[in-house]
C-alpha cells in the first residue's frame, strides 16, 4: 500500500488538455495541395489507395474522409506539390448537427446532451486501431471524464454511438439493433477512415457499405486512426464546446 502511494505521489498529475502537447514534426495531418508546384502528372491520383485524391473538373480535390494519411501521395509526388500539415482538427458535422441557418435541432440536442455525454462504442468491422485510440481517451493523460464525457456499457444508457470500421455483412444487424436501442435525442459519430468513407478495402463480398448508408451520421472524424486529440476535438465540436 505504501509502495502504491509512493508511486502515485512521485508521478504527480499527468492529465492535460487535449491541445496542450506539441504535434511531432513527422505527424501526417491534413493534406495540403500547392497549386503552383503541381504539374498535373496525376501520380497521386493513381497511387492513392482509397481514391481520396480525385480529379474534379481538371482540379485535384482531396476527400479527407477517405484519406489514410499514409503519405503515399506525398512520397510519389516529384514536385513537392503535396504535403501533410500538422493539423488534426478536421472533424466535421452533418445530419442533425449540420451547420445551417435555422438549425434549431442542433441547439436543442446540445442543450440536452452538452454537459454530460454518455457514449457507446460500436465496432462494425474495424482493424481495432480506432478502438484502441478510443480506449486511450480513458488513460490518465487524456481522461475524457474531465469534459463530462464517458463510455457506458449499454446503448440504452448512451447519448452517442461512436462507430468504428467498415460495416461488415456480419455486423450490419448488430449496428441497426444498437441504434434502435439508443434513446433519442442521440448522435452518431463515424470514427476513422473506414467508418467515414467505407472505402479502405474497396468493395468486397463481406461488406454492407459505409456507415452512413446504414445509419444516419452526425459527426465525421477522419484519420487512420484519428489521434486521441482529434477524437476529443470531434466530441467538443459536436457539443459546441470548443
Amino acid at each position: 500500500m505504501l509502495r502504491i502511494l509512493q508511486k502515485i505521489m512521485q508521478q504527480g498529475t499527468v492529465t492535460e488538455d487535449y491541445f496542450m502537447s506539441a504535434v511531432p514534426a513527422r505527424f501526417r495531418g491534413q493534406l495540403e495541395l500547392n497549386d503552383q508546384r503541381c504539374r498535373d502528372c496525376r501520380k497521386c491520383v493513381d497511387i492513392c489507395p482509397t481514391q481520396a485524391i480525385r480529379l474534379k473538373k481538371n482540379k485535384l480535390s482531396i476527400d479527407h474522409d477517405a484519406c489514410l494519411f499514409c503519405g503515399a501521395c506525398v512520397d510519389f509526388c516529384d514536385k513537392n506539390g503535396l504535403r501533410h500539415s500538422l493539423n488534426y482538427e478536421y472533424a466535421h458535422l452533418k445530419g442533425q448537427l449540420a451547420e445551417s441557418d435555422g438549425n434549431r435541432l442542433a441547439g436543442k440536442i446540445r442543450s440536452v446532451l452538452g454537459r454530460s455525454l454518455a457514449i457507446r462504442h460500436v465496432d462494425v468491422g474495424s482493424c481495432n486501431a480506432c478502438d484502441f485510440e478510443m480506449s486511450a481517451l480513458l488513460n490518465p493523460v487524456y481522461d475524457i471524464t474531465q469534459y463530462g464525457i464517458d463510455y457506458v456499457a449499454s446503448p440504452r444508457h448512451a447519448d452517442m454511438l461512436m462507430v468504428t470500421g467498415v460495416v461488415t455483412r456480419n455486423l450490419r444487424k448488430a449496428l441497426e439493433m444498437t441504434l434502435e436501442a439508443t434513446p433519442t435525442p442521440r448522435l452518431v459519430m463515424a470514427v476513422g477512415a473506414c467508418a467515414c468513407s467505407g472505402r479502405v478495402f474497396g468493395k468486397t463480398y463481406a461488406q454492407a457499405g459505409p456507415v452512413e448508408s446504414i445509419v444516419p451520421v452526425d459527426i465525421y472524424v477522419p484519420g487512420c486512426p484519428p489521434r486521441p486529440q482529434a477524437l476529443i476535438y470531434g466530441l467538443l465540436l459536436a457539443l459546441d464546446r470548443l
Binding site: R26, T50, N128, D131, N139, Y151, F201, Y205, R227
Partner: protein
C-alpha cells in the same frame, strides 16, 4: 529451407501424418487456392515446421472435374479444424469426415454454389440480414443454463459472440462465434500491384500493423530475390520491437484492469501513452504505420530521434519495474491470476498455439529465433518460457519480454547511431510471377503470410495466417473450469485480435 512435397488428395491424411511426424511438428498454416485457370485444379497448401528447423510445405491438388472434397485432417491434427471450415465456407471444398463442419466465416445464409474466394465469383448476392449461425445447446442437465455475450460488448472491445454453458458461476463449456469483422481483405487484394496492397495489409489489424507490413514485405522481397539494405533491416527490428513493447505494456495494464486493480491499469496506460507518442514522433503515426514498405522503409531516422529513443527506453525500464513490483506485492491481484485460465501444454501443442500463449505453456518457440528474419540472427536476446500456462504465467512472460524488447531496441539503436546507409531499394519481380511465404513474430506470435503474383506481377492470391488464428480455439478451451467473472481476465491474458483473425 523449405521442403515441398505434393500428394494426391486421396493420400492427404497419410502424407500430413508423415510430414508432421504423427502430429509432433505443428501445422503452421493451411489455405486453399483456386488455380483452375492455371492448371485446372484447386490446390491445398499446408505449412508445417520441419525437423531440421525449417518448414515443410505439403500441397495437394483437387481436380475441378472431380468431386470438390478432401479428407479432413481434423481428427488427426486438431489444429486443422478452423482452416478446413474456412476453406469450406470460402472455396466450397468439403473436408469429408470433419467432426464440426458449421459455417465459420460467413454468418448469413449464402446461396449454394456461391463461394467468394473462387476466381469466377463476381458480385456478392443480396442476402437478408438474418443470421444463420446456429448455437446448439451444448450442455444439457438440471440447472444448466446459457449466458450469451456479444457481439457488442460492454467495454471498448472488438466484436465476438461468446456462449457460456454454466452451472452456477462455473463455466462448463464456451462456444465462441467470431469472424464478425470479416472484411474480405484477402479477396480485395487480388489484382492489386504490390506497392498498392501494402496499405490494406497494414490495416488488417491496428496493433499488429508492423507485423503484417513486415510479413508482406518479406514475402514480396523473397519473390523479387532482393536483399533489403542492412539499415532498413535494423529499422524494421526497431519498429517491430516498439510494437511488441506498447502491446505488452498495454496488456499488462489490461490484465490489471481485468481484476479491477486500478493503480496497475492506470500506470501501465500512462506508460503505453508515452510509447504511442514516441511512435508518432518516429513514424508520423501512433501505430507505426506508413514506415515499412516492400523494399525497405520509407524514412530514415537521425541522431536526435535515436537519442530520444535511448532516453525513452532508459526511463521506461525502472518505471515499468516499479509497476511490476507493485503488482507482485499485491496478494489479492496474484490470487486472481494464479491457476486461472490454464492452457495445458498438450492442448497448446495440439492446436499449434503460437506466441506468448504457447511460451507460457512450456512451448519454446519464437520465429525471431527459430526462423530468423531481418537481422534477428545477429542480435542477442533470450526467449523466456514458463510452464504453468495460467494467467499469471502469461503475465510474467510478457513482463520478461518487455525487458528483452528493450535490449533489442538498444542494440538496434546502437547500430543505427554508428553506421549510415541506404534504407530502401527497388524491387523487380520476375516476369513469370511467383509465390513465397513471409513471416514475423508479432506481439501475439507467428504471423505468416503467403503471396502469389501472376504473370502481370499482380496479386493472384494472398493468404494471411495471423497469430490470433491458432490461438482463439485455445481461449475456448482455457475457460471451462473457471468462474465466468474470470473470463475477461483470461481473454485479456491471451490478448488476441479479432480483426487479425477475421480479416
Amino acid at each position: 529451407m523449405m521442403k515441398v512435397k505434393d500428394t494426391p488428395v486421396a493420400g492427404l491424411r497419410a502424407a500430413a501424418n508423415a510430414v508432421s511426424k504423427s502430429g509432433r511438428l505443428p501445422l503452421r498454416a493451411m489455405f486453399a487456392n483456386d488455380e483452375r485457370s492455371l492448371n485446372g485444379n484447386y490446390v491445398l497448401y499446408l505449412l508445417f515446421e520441419a525437423e531440421d528447423g525449417g518448414f515443410s510445405l505439403l500441397t495437394s491438388r483437387i481436380d475441378a472435374r472431380q468431386p470438390l472434397e478432401f479428407p479432413s485432417l481434423t481428427t488427426l491434427l486438431p489444429a486443422a479444424a478452423w482452416y478446413e471450415r474456412e476453406i469450406h465456407d470460402l472455396f466450397g471444398l468439403k473436408p469429408t469426415g470433419h467432426p464440426d463442419l458449421q459455417p465459420l466465416v460467413l454468418h448469413e445464409p449464402w446461396p449454394a454454389d456461391c463461394f467468394p474466394l473462387r476466381k469466377d465469383f463476381t458480385a456478392a448476392p443480396e442476402v437478408g440480414g438474418s443470421i444463420s449461425v446456429k448455437h446448439p445447446v451444448a450442455v444439457h442437465g438440471e440447472g444448466v443454463f446459457e449466458v450469451p455475450v456479444g457481439p457488442i460488448h460492454a467495454g471498448i472491445i472488438e466484436p465476438g459472440h461468446f456462449r457460456f454453458s454454466q452451472a452456477g458461476e462455473n463455466v462448463i463449456r464456451l462456444d465462441p462465434t467470431l469472424f464478425y469483422t470479416h472484411r474480405g481483405i484477402e479477396k480485395s487484394l487480388e489484382g492489386l500491384p504490390v506497392e498498392r496492397a501494402i496499405y490494406r495489409i497494414e490495416r488488417t489489424c491496428g496493433v499488429c500493423s508492423v507485423s503484417h507490413a513486415l510479413s508482406f514485405s518479406q514475402a514480396a522481397e523473397a519473390i523479387a530475390g532482393t536483399e533489403v539494405p542492412l539499415r532498413a533491416q535494423y529499422l524494421r527490428v526497431l519498429l517491430a520491437e516498439l510494437e511488441r513493447l506498447y502491446n505488452h505494456i498495454g496488456d499488462v495494464g489490461n490484465i490489471c484492469a481485468g481484476v479491477g486493480f486500478a493503480v496497475g491499469a492506470s500506470q501501465a496506460a500512462r506508460q503505453k501513452e508515452t510509447l504511442m507518442r514516441f511512435n508518432e514522433e518516429l513514424t508520423g503515426n501512433r501505430f507505426l504505420r506508413g514506415m515499412i514498405v516492400p523494399g525497405g522503409v520509407t524514412t530514415d531516422i537521425g541522431g536526435e530521434l535515436i537519442r530520444h529513443a535511448s532516453s525513452l527506453i532508459n526511463a521506461l525500464l525502472p518505471d515499468f519495474k516499479d509497476v511490476v513490483e507493485i503488482m507482485e506485492s499485491n496478494a489479492g491481484f496474484i490470487d486472481r491470476c494464479r491457476q486461472t485460465g490454464v492452457l495445458p501444454r498438450q492442448v497448446a501443442a495440439d492446436l499449434a498455439v503460437v506466441g506468448p500463449a504457447a511460451r507460457a505453456s512450456g512451448i519454446d518457440a519464437d520465429f525471431r529465433r527459430d526462423h530468423p528474419y531481418a537481422v534477428y540472427d545477429q542480435l542477442e536476446f533470450k526467449v523466456p518460457v514458463r510452464r504453468h500456462g495460467d494467467v499469471e504465467d502469461r503475465l510474467w512472460l510478457r513482463v520478461s519480454e518487455v525487458r528483452e524488447s528493450c535490449e533489442l531496441i538498444r542494440q538496434a539503436l546502437a547500430f543505427l547511431a554508428s553506421q549510415k546507409g541506404e534504407c530502401r531499394t527497388e524491387l523487380t519481380f520476375p516476369a513469370a510471377g511467383g509465390s513465397s511465404f513471409g513471416w514475423s513474430e508479432s506481439a501475439r506470435g507467428a504471423n505468416i503470410h503467403w503471396l502469389m503474383l501472376d504473370a502481370n506481377r499482380r496479386i493472384y492470391r494472398y493468404a494471411i495466417r495471423s497469430a490470433s488464428y491458432p490461438n482463439w480455439p485455445a481461449v475456448a478451451l482455457a475457460a471451462p473450469g473457471n468462474i465466468i467473472p474470470d473470463f475477461p481476465l483470461i481473454n485479456k491474458s491471451f490478448e488476441l485480435c479479432y480483426a487479425c483473425l477475421d480479416r
